[in-house]
Amino acid sequence: MKLDNLMLDRSIPPLAGKPKDVKFPDFKEVKTDNGITILVIEDNRLPLVSSSIVFKRGKYFDSYYGEDCAGLGSIMSELITLGTPRFNGEELSERIDYLGADVNVSANFDAFIVNFVSLSKNFSELFDLVQEMILQPVFDEKEFLREKSKRLNEIIAYNDDCEYLSTLLFNKVIYDRTPYSLPLTGTNSSLRELSVTKVKQLHSDLINPGEMLISFIGDITADESIEKVEKYFSHLNRSDLKSESEKIKLLPKAGVYLTNKGGAVQASMKIGHRGIEKKSEDFLKIKFMNTILGGSFTSRINHNLREVNGFTYGARSFFIQRRYAGDFCIETEVKNDLTAPACEQVIKVLREFTSEKITEDELELTKNYIAGSFPLQLETPQSISTLLINLRLFDMEKDFYDNYVTETLKITSEEVLETARKYINPDEISYCLAGDVESISGLMEQIGEVKIIQV
């Protein structure tokens, strides 16, 4: 290296600007007479329109339809795309592709979501197809059987994946026998139980305008958007709002749980306990606290397991917050012989984190990160729409994002410790591992009595 720039002294970092208080972008929100919420974000930089039609799932868990109905919602989602009075599945997919469009229907624990996008010149035609799929699916018996057998094969393939197995195990342990304990995709036994009749029942329960939300994003105006909703959905009658379920109370389940994936050279680990539902006054504080613990690359968990010990390619923690319950989970993948040492490190980090205040550096860093990166979350109209839909779906405060930056900058290290103590309890931890049981169970006995569970 020669001719170094003599004027430059890199030992002084550039002045870091303070986070700017960014205004949440403009959007329009309207409610129709029959109760549908419409959100519109106009943005004509690209010739695309995307839209989401969301149905709040309320209490309609799969288990509402019978003891062993896991997978019902997700099968229904698949079938939505496979036939209307006018077109069969093959014809629908040909039409969607021809429009340069993409339609994705999915079910999670809290909602059914139909996301679709197309070149803007084709959007009206696409919307017409999608509304027909949603309102008039034929739920053909043959398609149902085909989908079911495809799903059974997919489950066989999933069972190859340690990460999938450890997630099943963790949910089974933490959400013990509640609706959240069952896999959304269904199980071998539940899929055999499902029927077209149940699919139709779930569908008719769902189509309730009072629990519907439609967003339009991109190269489309608010008037055009509202007109479409009026045209296709104004005839729907609002049914009496179904009574919402109670919050689900979970019990502590501390222990060591293993499930077998013979021959695996690495184990997938999920370490955690019960958590908190989505709508929580501590939502922002939990996010803040978890960012320091395991929610970012510089977090304590990743720093310890990856950068100090070299045990893993990566490790992270998160709070899954659903409508009626949630969990706290640390996840990583390590070689078989590092399973017990990694557990010991995790518990050490958790004990420190729940007994000592974070450093001033960590506090400042996290404030700057969470508040400062807010503009990045608002980059595309799609990302803005996702933020809005989540607020509405979980009935969170309307001004949540208006106060996001100022509230974040107010958080103190005392509050972080308080939040950590309130939501993390090292004595309640469950260790859920999927891997080669023969190789890891002996080691894991050092952590606690091992229970082997089939998932």
Partner: protein, 445 residues
Amino acid sequence: MNAFIMLQKLTESKFNKSKKNVNVFCNSNKIPFFEFRSESGIDVIISQDKSREIVTTGFLYKVGSRNELHGQKGIAHLFEHLMFQGSGNIPKMGHFKFIQQAGGTLNAFTMADYTAYYEQVPSHQLETCFWLESDRLYDLRLTEENLQNQKDVVIEERMQNYDNAPYGLALFKLFENLMRGSSYETPTIGLPVDIKDFSLTQALEFHNNYYRPDNLIIAVSGNVEQETVEEYIGKYFSTSKSGEIPTLNLKDYIPLVEDKLEVIESNVALPGLFIGYQLPGFDFKRNIIADIFNELLINSTSSRLYRKLVYQKKLVTDLTSHLISWQKCAIVTQRFFYPDISSRNIILEIFDREIESFVSGDISERELEKAKNKKLLSVFLGISTLLVKNLQALYYKFYLNDPNNINELYKIIESVTADDIVNFVNENFLNNHRYILNYIPEKKS
């Protein structure tokens, strides 16, 4: 990051524009690029977009696993990790801290042909990115301890994404057979035995050889003034490095002389079938034709093979095709998962028949239009984020020496004809040998 996935993202999103009535690729709405070369030899690209308060930077070094010597497989990617382990004024992991402090995100990935580092920050924090990147270019500090730690991390990465993943080593098999003899024979993640042997001296030498201003392209997109970028380049990147970049002698693969079928028993639940063909090196239009062909054949639910194999015959549960195109050579691979172990030959038969039908039968206007529309959608979705737009500018600068090729994508997609598809099939499938890899579940004892 897993190079395979990243590649898929790049090929999926790398093309561009819209349709008839669409204004984006008209002259007035082209994505604007301003380019210059710094005194120190850096190619700099600036693309202003003031619609948001953010800015993205990308630093592409023209070094990847293709530059690795025998016995050093995996070094380029390991080295990407080492770039985060500290430099003269920045401690280990400092990049993450400073960028987080600025409210930004960052990452890096290694490909066969190049290695890229990128940051995205609120626009008033841009200088931090230049300062950080400059420090590790001019003043990298490595220790034995950090080297050892990152070797462990990379070996865990390989285990997670390849050794312990179902069909995870298929990529190695495909490259070993299709890229044999070429500079691309070993996937970027490399070989554990080589990674373990890599010394600190070799690491420093690698940095000296390839991490140089005259081996670097920088792209900046977003809410930024051209003068600001020029000022930062002058301030942080005006120093040249002595010495020379080692000569690169890219080697092509040895062409297959016959079809080959390999069966592997493995701990997988469903049988998997991988078919691979060799193609010549990077070709802009050919790559677009390949993407459109893949749409027609496999990659959408209305494609010919999806309808046949999944919908009508119910033989296959999941299938996909994708193109890997490096500078010197390319391959196209199809992948099928199927439940019944006895259906391999019938799947192959149907595959061959459908390929043949592109040449013997018709490709209708509507079918071609459909595949092009799909391609356009993915192009638009890709460039809807600054990050991808900026990486594509780097990509086209690197492969075609001009980021403006992004602005040509729409025109080229529109120009593809049924004859182009027929020629593509003839050249690369019908008159070509192939390698077939069949994973079958091992017998449980």
